[in-house]
Structures are given as C-alpha cells and as structure tokens.
C-alpha cells in the first residue's frame, strides 16, 4: 500500500504521535485471520518444502530423498527450457506494458472529457475473467478465420501463425499479457503523476522547455519510484502468469511456450509427481521471494521519503 502512495499517504505521516497511546492488546482482532493465514498460506509453504525432499507420487509409497529432486531439476532440460521461456516472457511482459502504460498515464493525466468512463473501459481487460478473454484471443489468433490475420492483411502483412508456430507463440502471448496488464501500469503511473508538484513545470515553462524536455528531465525522474514499483509488480505477475497461457496454448506447440508455472502444473497434476513438483514450486518461490525483498526495500524507502520513518 504505502509502497505506492509514497507521497499520497499524508495521514500515515500524521500518525507519528499516536503510536504509543493506542498500541497494546489489539491481538484479539488479528488472531482469527492469523489462524486462517497459517492454515491456508503458511502451512502449504512448509508442507511444500517438506514434500520437495521426498519422492512422492500420488497413490504411491513416499520416501525421503533429501536434495535429489533439486539435483534432478538442475539437469532437467524441459525445466531449463521452461525457465528460459519464463524469463523471455517476463522481460517482454514487463517492458511493453511499462512503455504503453506510461504513455497512457500521460494521456489520462490531462483534462479529458468523460475521463472516468474512459478509465473504466481502459481498466476492463485487467478485471475481466482471464479464461474468458483467453478464449476470445484464441479465436482471434486463428490463422484462417481469425480477425487478427484479416486486419494484418489489410495493411499487407501476414498471414501469421500466431500461437500455432513455435517462433511466434511467445510473442503472441506477450501481446495478450500486454493488452491485459497495461492498465495496471497506467494506474500506478497515473497515481505518481497526480502527486507531482506544479512549481518545476511553471519554471520550465518560463525557461521555454519543450514538452519532451519537460517529460525527460522533470516527469521521468520524479515518477521513477512508481515506475520501479510497476516493474516489480509486473515482473511478479508475469512470472506467475498461468490462466492465459494454459487456456490458449497449454505450453504448446510442443513445449515452445511452456513456462515454469505450466511445467509445475504438468508435473504435479498430470504426472502426479508431487514431490518433484514441490521442488519446482520451491525454486519458483525463491525467485519470487528475491523480487519481493526488492519490493520491501522500495516500500521502506518511499516511507522514509514521506517522513514517517516506519
């Protein structure tokens, strides 16, 4: 929360003096949620860690194998390929929405007619049910009957094979991911733009700075913390991406678009090799924990900036 609202959280800054007076014995409020969190979140984490040290297939005898699953991972070509796909997919799915989302935020930050309605429409892709939109994208990607190839043919390009060819499948999926998640970047950056001071712009105007100069030397440095947050959140979500990939390609053609998450699904719930699947989950988990540490670091830094030092 205050990760994003570095300067927006005025009331947080005003809370310094009240800390001591109202601190004690709020535990009863937290206990029920704590029980739930331990049951459905912490327990699965611990259990997964334990299972990753076992040879465990559903319906078979399990036995302790130590780190053997992890050793197997290091030499599992399909896993390593999935890792590469995940990294490429994630990198592209961060950069494209970041650029487009920032541009959109700049446009939305002006006095537009029906701004609220437009923003509502703009946000629809990220709120819509992923499976539902994935089905429609599947139809649009169809090489013969899909509307995308028709549109491309109007400007003399194509026909492309989209998700039906190994060389274009990841790019096509990135297109969907970008379409879906650009709004989130837009919202984050828009929050940043709303918090900017006006004085530097007035002096820049007097100095005769061009629009590009104002963006490059004023806006961009000032919204950098927000861009960083967008990058991290986007990275985590792209790493985790499942619904779209599973619905449109299931990792295909072959395994050309298989990410870690999809491989994890196959191992655990198609082959029922839950021990090995847990090892994949743990590695995946570590990757994401590393990212969340960066996020926490940013959260703290932005809290210091707003002056309440928490």
């Amino acid at each position: 929360m205050s990760i994003l609202t570095s300067s927006g959280r005025v009331a947080g800054a005003a809370s310094v003096g009240r800390t001591k007076r109202l601190r004690p014995s709020y535990w009863p409020f937290v206990v029920p949620a704590l029980i739930v969190v331990v049951g459905v979140i912490v327990f699965p984490w611990v259990f997964t860690l334990w299972m990753s040290a076992m040879e465990w297939r559903i319906g078979e005898e399990q036995r302790f194998v130590g780190l053997q699953n992890y050793v197997r991972l290091a030499t599992d070509v399909r896993f390593l390929e999935a890792m590469a796909h995940t990294l490429v997919y994630t990198a592209l799915s961060v950069v494209a929405p970041l650029v487009l989302g920032t541009a959109a935020a700049l446009a939305f930050n002006t006095k537009l007619p029906a701004r609220g309605l437009l923003r509502g429409i703009f946000v629809m892709p990220m709120m819509a049910t992923p499976v539902a939109i994935a089905l429609v994208w599947t139809m649009m990607f169809h090489p013969q009957l899909g509307v995308l190839n028709y549109l491309l043919s109007q400007i003399g390009i194509g026909p492309l094979q989209w998700v039906y060819h190994p060389s274009t499948v990841i790019l096509s999926l990135v297109l969907v991911e970008t379409w879906q998640w650009t709004p989130l970047v837009m919202l984050i950056v828009l929050g940043g733009l709303a918090s900017l001071p006006t004085e530097p712009y007035e002096s820049a105007q007097i100095d005769g700075a061009t629009a590009w100069q104002r963006f490059r030397y004023l806006t961009l440095p000032m919204i950098k913390p927000f861009l960083m947050v967008a990058v991290i959140i986007r990275s985590i979500d792209a790493l985790k991406s499942f619904d779209i990939l599973y619905t449109i390609t299931q990792g295909g053609p072959g395994t050309a678009s298989e990410t870690i998450n999809l491989y994890l699904y196959s191992v655990a719930f198609t082959y029922y090799d839950v021990g090995y699947g847990s090892a994949i989950a743990v590695v995946f988990f570590v990757l994401i924990i590393l990212l969340s540490l960066v996020l926490l670091h940013l959260r703290q830094r932005s809290a210091w900036n707003s002056g309440d030092g928490k």
Partner: protein, 276 residues
C-alpha cells in the same frame, strides 16, 4: 498560430491519443459480443463480419440448456460469496488490529502470499483435502479461495485504517469504551468505503480464479471459468456459444468494473493487488 487554436489542437490531439489507447479494450469486447451473436456461418466468414444480418440469440439459450450452466453459476456464486464473506469477517478486524498496532512487519506475510503462485498452494492443500475426504464438495474451493480473498481484504483494510482519523477513537477510549466497542461503533462505520473496495476486489479476483478450479473441481462442483474452459476442450468447438459463454462469465465483472471504477482504481493503486 493563435493561442486558443493551439490549445484546441492540443486537446484534440490528446483526445485522439486516448481514443487510440481505449480502442484495444473497446474493440476487443465489441468483437467478443459480435462473436457471441453470430451463427457459425457468419463466424466462419471471410472477410469477417462485425454486425451480422441475423442475430444468433440461440447461442445464449444453448449454453443454459445443455451444460448445467446454471449449476456452475450457482457454484461460482457460493464459492465467491463464502470466500469473500469469510475474508471480510476475519480480514477487516485483522486490518484494524495491524494498523493500530503499527505491526507493519506482519504485512510482509500478506505481501509474500500475494506473490506466491497459486499452484504452490495447490499441491499441499490438494493432498490435505484428499486426506480429509472433502474432494467432490465445494469446501475445498471455498477454503482455497481464502488464499486469494483474505490477503486482499487485510491488505486494503490496513491501508484504510491507517488513514482514518484517530481523534474519535481516542475520545471514545477516554469515555471508557472497550476496544471492541470502539471498533464496532467508531472505526467500522468510518471504514465503510474501504470495506466496499475490499469486497469488490475480493469478489472479482475470486470470481475470476481458474487455477484452483481446474484441479479441485469435479463435474458437479465446477465454477464458471472452469466450465467455460471445458467447453473449449471437450465439446465440438463452435465459436458462437463459446463466446456467449465467455461473455456471460465475465459480464458481471465488466459491469462491476465500469460501475465501480472509482473504488476499483482506489483499491488497485493502494496495493496493486491481484489474486492467485
């Protein structure tokens, strides 16, 4: 160029810009609507037809006839409703407690939970549900949806209670009210807008969830996203009914998004939440 004219051009340029930016979303959902209202012959036509001469309303009636769609709708309603209500029940007080204790470290757990891929919760919980003999009922899905809804609610409520004014609560405390009285009579009424945001986002992300359902749902306990996905994989693929089903599944969410866009934007920018 005169100044007013330039201003006008600037504005027009911006408007065009935004239209360009909105059109991918707008055109997509229009095309979705178009697919859902066309007969197979129109959906297979080349060049594609946007507005057909005859509307295939039967696409919508078909999905409710053959596919126990109403049952799946009901399942979705139960799972999302129960998981959201329960999350509010435990999450709103928790958010209050964490905010008042200034226990910001505890929010780390919530944040990491939001970052964990849904699949890594699924393996252990799947085994647990199997062991408890719960598979085949709606309970596993209700329980596992808490993974999505509880963190959203706690996250949003911490942020909200941090911003609500303390003076009233302090005054009530001086008057000798207990903590629960203060929470119920003073803090809760002020926090209503925050609760609405938490409710809306929790509903949307639970409703949209797919990954838990494909593993945990049996034939009778499917939620809508799983049901629609199964239409794609197991039945003869005809685009019209498929698009109609997809639209029916996501329509409640789309309506909610446009109607409550202010709250949704507030909630999303507060925590950049996304479920499962």
């Amino acid at each position: 160029m005169s100044r007013p004219l330039r201003k006008l051009l600037d504005k027009a340029g911006m408007a065009v810009c935004v239209l360009l930016l909105v059109s991918p979303a707008l055109l997509f959902f229009l095309w979705m609507l178009s697919l859902s209202l066309k007969f197979e012959i129109d959906n297979g036509a080349y060049p594609p037809i946007l507005i057909p001469e005859r509307f295939a309303w039967k696409n919508y009636t078909t999905i409710f006839e053959g596919n126990s769609f109403l049952l799946y709708f009901w399942n979705s309603l139960i799972v999302t409703g129960a998981a959201t209500l329960f999350a509010l029940l435990v999450g709103v007080p928790a958010g209050y407690g964490i905010a008042r204790m200034q226990a910001h470290k505890s929010a780390v757990v919530i944040m990491i939970a939001r970052m964990t891929p849904g699949l890594s919760f699924l393996i252990p919980l799947f085994l647990l549900f199997q062991w408890l003999g719960l598979l085949g009922t709606l309970w596993p899905q209700i329980i596992i949806h808490l993974v999505v809804t509880v963190p959203i609610v706690i996250w949003i409520m911490i942020g909200y209670f941090e911003t609500t004014p303390m003076e009233l609560e302090e005054a009530a405390m001086v008057d000798g009210a207990t903590r629960w009285q203060i929470f119920a009579k003073v803090a809760l009424p002020i926090a209503k807008p925050g609760i609405v945001v938490a409710f809306i986002l929790s509903v949307i992300f639970s409703w949209n969830n797919f990954v838990f359902g494909i593993v945990l749902a049996s034939r009778e306990t499917r939620t809508l996203p799983v049901a629609v996905y199964n239409m794609l994989s197991f039945e003869q693929v005809s685009w019209g009914p498929l698009a109609a089903a997809a639209l029916v599944v996501t329509l409640p969410v789309l309506i909610l998004t446009v109607a409550a866009q202010r709250q949704i934007v507030a909630g999303l920018t507060a925590g950049a939440v996304k479920g499962g």
